[in-house]
Symmetry: C2
Subunit: 357 residues, 2 copies
């Protein structure tokens, strides 16, 4: 894995391969309980930090305990994968056009709960919530029966922006420090009942897990590839950033078996487009803003980034190597998301399902 992390007891560490290196002796920005100070430095400071980390011959740490690497300011979740949006539309609006009219014109997104973003390795408690009654009967308050994963990438804002001033796509690299892997845990039954008309709330807000390692954008230059063509053409404020798809192989592991493989380059909307859209109304950025892509799904079977897609809403259960079947997550299940950009491995996102309280 490659990137910066933070020791559970505080102090920034760097990892590029098997071992982590303690950087706390290298400067004030690195002897901190989070990456926040490093994030706010900007491009020159980020480059110097990477150079210094690579050159540093500090104590090696194998598998150190790590904490949430930065203070999450606002958390935005997009819906940027054509495969995912198409799969969801086909399942829930069969016979209709799978994409809503706005989908190809703007990266649809919403705000999630920043306060429940946690670091990889944190167990997830099966949430209770209000569920629609069967056959239109009265709702009930019960543990979710449709707990799911969402495999996503997220980018982490370092440099704030000025209120009232949109950040164009070509300024992405001036504001964004790095990326993380994201598991946007979802309770499909809670979400299905609550989300009209104001969107997801408690179906998502119980927990979102991110990797402990933040991989600097600058390390991914060689993995930048052209994004898929957009049709119809988008408005000028969204037209840039099409050279910023990321060739990152992704996989979802469930109890040790790989159940899904995809690649982030398939995303219809790139991260610079997401940033340009999120600030197009003048909303300002803060250090620590986290913006995630939404579930990443390819267009073939086995490339879906969620169980609801992989199992066609439970109609086609996954067969696991131990002989069991899964429609949705069961108590005790362990999910591990992984990403690899050539020689650069992203931090994994690991989490085990605990039974409801």
């Amino acid at each position: 894995m490659s990137g910066f992390g933070v020791l559970a007891g505080g102090g920034v560490v760097w990892r590029d391969g098997d071992d982590a290196v303690d950087l706390t002796g290298l400067g004030d920005e690195l002897a901190q309980p989070s990456l926040d100070a490093l994030l706010s430095l900007g491009r020159d400071g980020w480059r110097q930090a990477v150079d210094a980390a690579r050159a540093h011959d500090g104590p090696r740490l194998r598998g150190p305990a790590l904490r949430l690497p930065f203070t999450v300011a606002d958390y935005v979740d997009f819906y940027s994968s054509l495969g995912h949006a198409t799969n969801m539309g086909r399942m829930f609006r069969p016979g209709a056009e799978p994409l809503h009219p706005n989908w190809r014109h703007l990266p649809v997104g919403y705000h999630g709960r920043a306060g429940t973003v946690v670091v990889s390795g944190t167990d997830v408690r099966r949430p209770r919530g209000q569920l629609h009654g069967a056959d239109g009967g009265n709702p009930e308050y019960a543990p979710t029966r449709r707990l799911d994963v969402e495999l996503e990438l997220g980018f982490v804002v370092g440099v704030p922006s000025t209120p009232g001033e949109p950040v164009p796509a070509d300024r992405f690299v001036d504001h964004v420090f790095g990326i993380v892997l994201v598991n946007d845990w979802s309770a499909r039954d809670i979400q299905a009942w609550e989300y009209v008309p104001l969107g997801p709330f408690l179906g998502k807000s119980f927990q979102t897990s991110i990797s402990a390692w933040v991989t600097p954008i600058a390390l991914l230059d060689e993995r930048r590839v052209p994004a898929p063509e957009q049709e119809p053409p988008v408005l000028p404020y969204l037209a840039d950033g099409r050279d910023f798809a990321l060739d990152i192989d992704l996989e979802t592991g469930l109890n040790g078996a790989v159940v899904s493989r995809s690649n982030a380059r398939s995303l219809y909307w790139t991260m610079p487009q997401q940033l340009a859209h999120a600030t197009s109304n003048g909303a300002s950025l803060r250090t620590g803003d986290l913006m995630a892509t939404g579930t990443i799904s390819g267009d073939t079977r086995g490339s879906e980034g969620s169980l609801i897609e992989l199992t066609r809403n439970g109609a086609e259960p996954l067969q696991l190597p131990d002989g069991s079947e899964r429609r949705f997550l069961e108590d005790g299940d362990e999910v591990v998301l992984r990403g690899r950009a050539g020689a650069i491995e992203l931090g994994e996102v690991r989490g085990r399902v605990l039974p409801a309280n």
Copy 2:
């Protein structure tokens, strides 16, 4: 006005009437750039702070410059007013049942952008955004033509909660420090095009204004009244907190004229119910979480908390005393929200519309 605020240069102040009193000499929690330390003290500490503030004979300040009084952790916006939800449903789904099926079963809500919550007195820049093309044509990126206000109350969380553990309604007063007035500025045309299926995003995220004074909940004990009856009965996890409607008179001023009057006691869902619902999936609270009621509208003409309702989506313009008409806000307009709970006046929320950049 009554409550705690923070001087623009730092330092907690108390106000109960015309003059503010500087409290910075009274202790470490009060010589701060925000109320955050005070918020985290809990009920005993809050009571002592109010008592000390009332007894303190410090320097008087008339009309001091104030800053955002606390660090907003997560911002949640509900949709709790029966009048508002009914008005919106009638306008946008004429002939259909105005309320969605979930509305009487749970307080519908969503996360907004915490990073663009600002203090009263901050101007609001007319946002640009993607607007649906006329007659189904291509969308455009242009300044909103439907800038609106939303008159709301918000409560401010002081004491955090434990992840995985819901906070029942009867623990509301252990976690919640006080209330503010909220203007949830809205760009109706941006919102209308973007919000399917994940809810409001850029139509709201450009700015949310709150009062500079946070009024402690404890000061409002005499204004607690029974909430309106709920039919059908709600699930047990939402059944408490019905003795916690707040008898607070509210008004919206536009360029010096009062254009709307209502009372917060009409809200269908109380604040303790909102808190219980927001944590019912185990999502934890942080110091500084802000949860707003959603637009508060009564059931009579002139009690609506937004222009889109007051003008019936622009069909019945407001006649202002200067002879002009308003469907939505124009550049230069000044909005002032006010609230009064008997002898207790809440901090106002004032803002003027600046032209688009």
